[in-house]
Symmetry: C2
Subunit: 197 residues, 2 copies
């Protein structure tokens, strides 16, 4: 994973920031986005002042956690884009996006609720994520692992739809798995479908 460059931040300050983000992600994941900045300071073993120095508001912290997760997905996409099995790499990434989708959308909802516009902070990140996805898609299509009549627009729509479908089946892992398998099978070209059906 690459070290993000946060302008004007010294190395130790950056390490503190990264650590706070990691703790915040855990706390938000276990207690939901309603967890307070104080909860995060306690969990990180620092004073509340330290948290506020890095993240002036809880919304700034939520937003940073969100962008950090997307950054990690982009790093995953970059690594997978040189994996030997292009088809496997594509499907691994599709699943890993979905694995993150649930808690990510909870955070996104909390931000939307707080009136924070993600568009500005996300513009560059979203572009990088789409580029990573597209590279994986094209490679998988080239080796015949994914049908060749779809592009990035269809893939994004399917990811969003699959996340919603899995969310609807929430609580029943068997239903989640079978639902996802239908969509993944639909992405495979005719000759390559799983034999589960």
């Amino acid at each position: 994973m690459e070290t993000p460059v946060v302008k004007g931040l010294r190395a130790d300050a950056w390490r503190n920031r990264a650590r706070l983000l990691a703790v915040a992600e855990d706390v938000f994941a276990s207690r939901g986005p309603s967890a307070s900045t104080e909860d995060i300071a306690v969990a990180a073993g620092v004073g509340i002042g330290t948290v506020f120095r890095h993240f002036p508001t809880k919304e700034a912290l939520l937003e940073a956690v969100f962008v950090e997760r997307l950054q990690r997905l982009i790093d995953d996409a970059r690594q997978l884009s040189s994996a030997p099995d292009a088809g496997q790499a594509f499907f691994i990434f599709f699943r890993s996006v979905l694995d993150q989708a649930h808690s990510k959308s909870a955070i996104a909802d909390a931000l939307a609720h707080a009136g924070i516009d993600l568009k500005d902070s996300m513009a560059g990140v979203k572009e990088d994520l789409n580029a990573g996805l597209n590279a994986l898609l094209v490679r998988a299509q080239r080796v015949g692992a994914v049908r060749d009549d779809i592009g990035i627009a269809e893939l994004l729509a399917l990811l969003v739809g699959a996340a919603r479908a899995v969310d609807h089946a929430a609580g029943n892992t068997d239903v989640e798995d079978r639902t996802l398998e239908v969509i993944l099978d639909g992405l495979r070209p005719h000759s390559r479908r799983s034999t589960r059906g």
Copy 2:
């Protein structure tokens, strides 16, 4: 289409109610759920008092339009359940649910926003819709037109996910069509997939 029985309503009063519902559906569809009760009275050529006699609040009217649409889907499912081609009937119904999903969810959002709990008025309707869906699914599976490793839970998750996917692609019919085709292909058993991919 069956005539819904609205308790204690005379035939002419029921006809007026049905006409108001049809007009309200058109008005909500063209102007969005923010259209007012006055707009609907004007479009129907009746006084506002007539609208209020049938629907005391705008929310009651929105809810009735919503339930009426689901009723129509249930009627469609019943008719299709005796269609000669069980596979075609299933896929026609899947698409017709999606065709309605966009405006339906706009109305559902407006109701949720107004704090109306759809659960009570929907309980019976939802059960009927699920029964209709299930009948179409089982019949299509029996003739080998739909994979047999999914049940009603997966189908509902896929419908909700497909609606979200199509919504995400909104404005680009080609993307919508190709996205939906992926999901429909995933529903087909191995030997029956379309040859588009």
